[in-house]
């Protein structure tokens, strides 16, 4: 063996000339490797495959022509966005509409999207490494590139980098953004938006200044241990507190609470009060439309009702009756900024509702809670815990300052370098995997972590991950001209006495005016141009529903005459559209020929009866409002302009724009204005 080796060495390198030749040959071979690697590169291989694929198709000629106009390495270069995408080098058929039947990658055509590839490139939405020309480098994270391809189920997050406002095509992103505010994530984690503002929480956690007036220590203990055991929809997360910690925090909160004048009311005993009708409470609860905002879990376990206010399934276990009585009488005493309207309930009504809600109790919840009187040490320890867990980030607590930046800022979480993330063993090393795992089980990253356990459905976790992944460096560094900003939030506040009244009635909880308010009820920005004064007065006195398919309606607030006049005056005077004069068309006296023409148009040409009802005996339409009394409800000018372009009057209206000519719109207006109905019937409803 040794001899063979040494003789080989002798043959190759024995003589200087031969040695020189051998070394030169080795050098040449090694130099030839580089161009050879270049020639047999992955992208050339894919382009050859593509040519073979299109070669035997009917439209081979066109496709080949398209290809040969752009063979070699392709790139989409967008200097303004910092994009150099060479993905189209291998994904050759992205723009070929005729490749709809091809399902093998990388030759599939791109699904239809609202943007063109040439203007946006690929990595703007899909991430990954655009300049790369190898499969591994382009798609995955490597030693010199951290950002791998974004999994398709989070792709909506990329829309959110430029689009700050909700889009109809991105429900997951919209939900996620909503959840960030709704579940109060942003109380602890600051999220600054590229325009400089920050996401504001919308969960409105209650102040704990006067908690002892409202609730018992036992309930607080049970709630702290497991909020979802009390209410399945509770926003408050589970801090996984030990029994002793929950005991001490409840001790501190009760000891720290100060009494507030007027937030409790003793039971009033009416001398001649009869035993209340057992169904009266339920019917008052229903008639006041409490369920528009509050949910209750029924026997089948379904949560029924709105999510504006807290769930009331076990409210009798939570609140003290004397507090509930005062709250129902006027919630603004305890919480001046509550979303709850100030119902003008009479004392018997308050008693009835208090009794009804008090029965919504669950004795099991507190059955095992036995707390001895708190010691000063326990209270002090409770205070320490409250500070440590950052309770004051969400709740106002007397004597404890709201901490700033209690949790890490998430402004650029979508671009967090992987090297700064500590992954769990066995976990996929990617930002989406980390974020979703952190939301799903925060404490799995360390028992000492403070982030509490939330109760999210998988779809909610995906939505939150999507919303967080949208917070990238790119989103922040894009020139403002390339972003689609959100509608700036409005701080609209109506003035004067009417303004105070509207705040007291919490109109904005359901109605939007001038860009501020909820979407539970119609937008009232131009209500003054829309309705007739007598109808509005009657409606405020006794609200009815306008739509036959809708059971919910505005609750009856028992407003006084002067309050109704105040509100009506304000609405009629202030909420007018600049587009037209509401008195520019008469409310009656239309020629019968024109009315008849309108009837024809209504029933035949435009077939309005498919959605609306004019004659309750014949018409079956139930999508739109009933129009039996429309002539006494709306102004003629409003109807006319509405018919011409409904969306111009109220953006998002579902009534289709029929491009009516002036004559048809006039005739229909005349016909509709004749539908006066009877005010009596309206009032009865």
């Amino acid at each position: 063996m040794k001899n063979a080796l040494s003789s080989m060495w002798q043959t190759l390198f024995g003589h200087p000339v031969r040695a020189f030749g051998v070394v030169s040959l080795l050098l040449l071979i090694s130099l030839a490797i580089a161009p050879a690697k270049n020639h047999f590169s992955e992208w050339r291989h894919y382009q050859k495959q593509y040519l073979a694929l299109i070669g035997n198709r009917g439209d081979a000629k066109t496709l080949e022509l398209h290809f040969h106009n752009h063979d070699g390495i392709q790139q989409i270069w967008l200097p303004g966005l910092g994009v150099v995408d060479r993905c189209t080098t291998c994904h050759v058929g992205l723009k070929e509409a005729s490749l709809a039947d091809v399902s093998t990658q990388p030759f599939r055509r791109h699904p239809v999207i609202p943007h063109t590839l040439d203007q946006f490139g690929c990595v703007m939405c899909h991430r990954g490494q655009g300049p790369a020309t190898t499969v591994e480098e382009a798609h995955r994270s490597t030693a010199a590139w951290e950002q791998p391809l974004l999994p398709a189920r989070y792709v909506q997050s990329s829309c959110g980098q430029c689009h700050r406002a909700p889009l109809t095509g991105t429900p997951q992103l919209n939900l996620g953004r909503n959840l960030l505010a709704r579940y109060g994530c942003v109380h602890c984690h600051t999220i600054k938006l590229p325009d400089g503002s920050a996401i504001k929480p919308t969960d409105d956690p209650p102040s704990l200044f006067h908690i002892a007036d409202k609730s018992t220590r036992e309930w607080i203990y049970a709630w702290l241990k497991d909020p979802q055991a009390y209410a399945i929809t509770a926003t408050m997360p589970n801090f996984k507190l030990s029994d002793l910690d929950a005991r001490d925090i409840s001790a501190f909160l009760i000891a720290n609470s100060t009494p507030l004048a007027g937030d409790t009311a003793p039971a009033t005993k009416d001398k001649d009060e009869k035993a209340p009708d057992p169904t009266a409470g339920a019917s008052l609860y229903g008639g006041s439309f409490c369920s528009s905002c509050h949910a209750v879990q029924n026997a089948a376990g379904n949560v029924v009702g709105g999510d504006v206010g807290p769930e009331l399934t076990r409210v009798g276990t939570k609140v003290k009756p004397e507090w509930l009585r005062a709250w129902l009488r006027n919630p603004r005493v305890y919480d001046p900024l509550t979303a709850m309207p100030h119902y003008r309930l009479t004392d018997p009504q308050v008693n009835l509702l208090t009794a009804f809600l008090g029965n919504k109790a669950d004795a099991d919840l507190l059955a095992n809670v036995h707390l001895d009187a708190a010691t000063p040490e326990q209270i002090a320890h409770g205070k320490l815990l409250v500070t440590e867990y950052g309770c004051a980030s969400c709740h106002e607590i007397g004597g404890i300052k709201k901490p700033d930046n209690f949790a890490p800022e998430l402004t650029r979480i979508g671009s967090k370098p992987l090297t700064q993330i500590i992954f769990l063993p066995g976990m996929e090393h990617s930002t989406p995997a980390y974020i979703s795992a952190k939301i799903r089980q925060p404490r799995s990253f360390g028992a000492a972590l403070k982030m509490p356990q939330y109760t999210f459905a998988p779809a909610q976790i995906d939505a939150l991950t999507t919303a967080l992944l949208a917070l990238t460096d790119r989103a922040h560094d894009l020139p403002m001209a390339l972003t689609v900003p959100a509608q700036p939030g409005s701080n609209y506040q109506p003035a004067g006495k009417a303004g105070q009244l509207m705040a007291d009635l919490a109109c904005f909880t359901c109605h939007a005016i001038n860009g501020r308010g909820g979407d539970l009820a119609p937008d009232l920005t131009w209500e003054g141009s829309s309705v007739q004064r007598p109808w509005l007065q009657a409606f405020l006195k006794n609200p009815g529903t306008l739509r036959p398919a809708l059971i919910r309606r505005m609750p009856k607030f028992n407003l006084s005459e002067s309050e109704i006049t105040e509100l009506t005056d304000y609405i009629m005077a202030v909420y007018q559209t600049p587009a037209f004069d509401r008195d520019s068309m008469p409310s009656s006296g239309y020629a019968s020929a024109q009315v008849e023409q309108g009837r024809q148009l209504f029933y035949s040409k435009y077939a309005c009866q498919s959605c609306h009802i004019i004659d309750t005996k014949v018409d079956k339409g139930y999508i739109g409002p009933t129009l039996t009394q429309v002539g006494s409800r709306l102004t003629a000018a409003w109807i006319y302009h509405w018919l011409k372009d409904p969306q111009a009057m109220r953006p998002g209206a579902i009534e289709p724009n029929r491009n009516m000519n002036d004559e048809d719109a006039r005739a229909l207006t005349a016909f509709l204005m004749m539908q006066k109905g009877s005010n009596k019937q309206e009032a009865k409803k």
Partner: protein, 264 residues
């Protein structure tokens, strides 16, 4: 076959053009061969005569020649790399990526440059160990040892400045750490740090500064010192071997013959 290949070469050497370029004339006499070396601007740095024993592998392991070879390779690969590279913050890293992804054989070019650089640092150290342990630094070669130390520093500086140019995380933090070490110098540390980076942090100025140092100043200085280094080999008596070592170190003036400088 009246004419051999050798006779064609002889004819070529006799032409006027050849003679205008190589003035030493033709012939294989000792004088002609000595003139061929002495009258060539590149070769005249070297001795006109060496002992065959000095050219054997075991004498030097060819470490100095190999070092010079890697240096040439670095110059040859470095120049085309300069064609593709912009020393600017937004472009530098993208250019490095482009070399990998779109420039024909760009990755080969860059890898050749990088590995040659590593090899050069290794070879310089090996060369110095060999010289040190064989005692070849001793008089009369002590000045050439000093030049060798300067060349070591230049090599390290070339390596260090080149490290920043890809403008990746590794580069950025390596230079940040390195420059912070410089700021630990007493009294003038912060000034040195500022001078090095052209600012207080590693940024566009540092990149430009390092680029100019790496591609122009340091290579030129290196070439200058390499020339002196080679020239001093001849002046100090050719390559070192035990036999050329004076047996005794004498105090006072050394006789000219003992200097071993026959070929000055």
């Amino acid at each position: 076959m009246a004419k051999t290949i050798a006779s064609y070469f002889d004819e070529l050497r006799g032409t006027r053009v050849w003679r205008s370029v190589f003035r030493s004339g033709t012939g294989s006499s000792t004088l002609h061969r000595a003139l061929a070396v002495q009258q060539n601007v590149f070769l005249h740095l070297f001795s006109t005569k060496v002992r065959t024993r000095m050219l054997s592998f075991s004498t030097t392991w060819y470490l100095g020649t190999l070092t010079f070879g890697t240096f040439l390779l670095l110059v040859v690969t470095g120049i085309p790399l300069m064609f593709y590279y912009h020393p600017s913050v937004p472009q530098a890293y993208a250019d490095t990526k482009d070399l990998e992804f779109v420039v024909s054989s760009g990755l080969f070019l860059r890898n050749l440059h990088r590995w040659s650089a590593h090899a050069m640092v290794f070879l310089v150290f090996a060369h110095m160990f060999k010289v040190f342990y064989r005692g070849a630094y001793r008089p009369p070669r002590e000045f050439n040892w000093v030049i060798g130390v300067i060349l070591l520093l230049i090599t390290l500086l070339l390596s260090y400045t080149g490290y920043l140019l890809p403008w990746d995380q590794l580069a950025f933090w390596a230079i940040t750490v390195g420059s912070n070490i410089a700021s630990a110098v007493p009294v003038m540390g912060n000034k040195v740090h500022f001078l090095m980076l052209g600012g207080n942090v590693v940024n566009a100025n540092a990149l430009l500064r390092f680029y100019v140092l790496h591609c122009m100043i340091l290579p030129l200085v290196a070439i200058l010192f390499v020339a002196v280094h080679f020239w001093r080999i001849r002046k100090d008596g050719g390559l070192y071997s035990h036999q050329s070592e004076p047996q005794t170190v004498t105090a006072g003036p050394v006789p000219a013959a003992a200097k071993g400088g026959q070929f000055q």
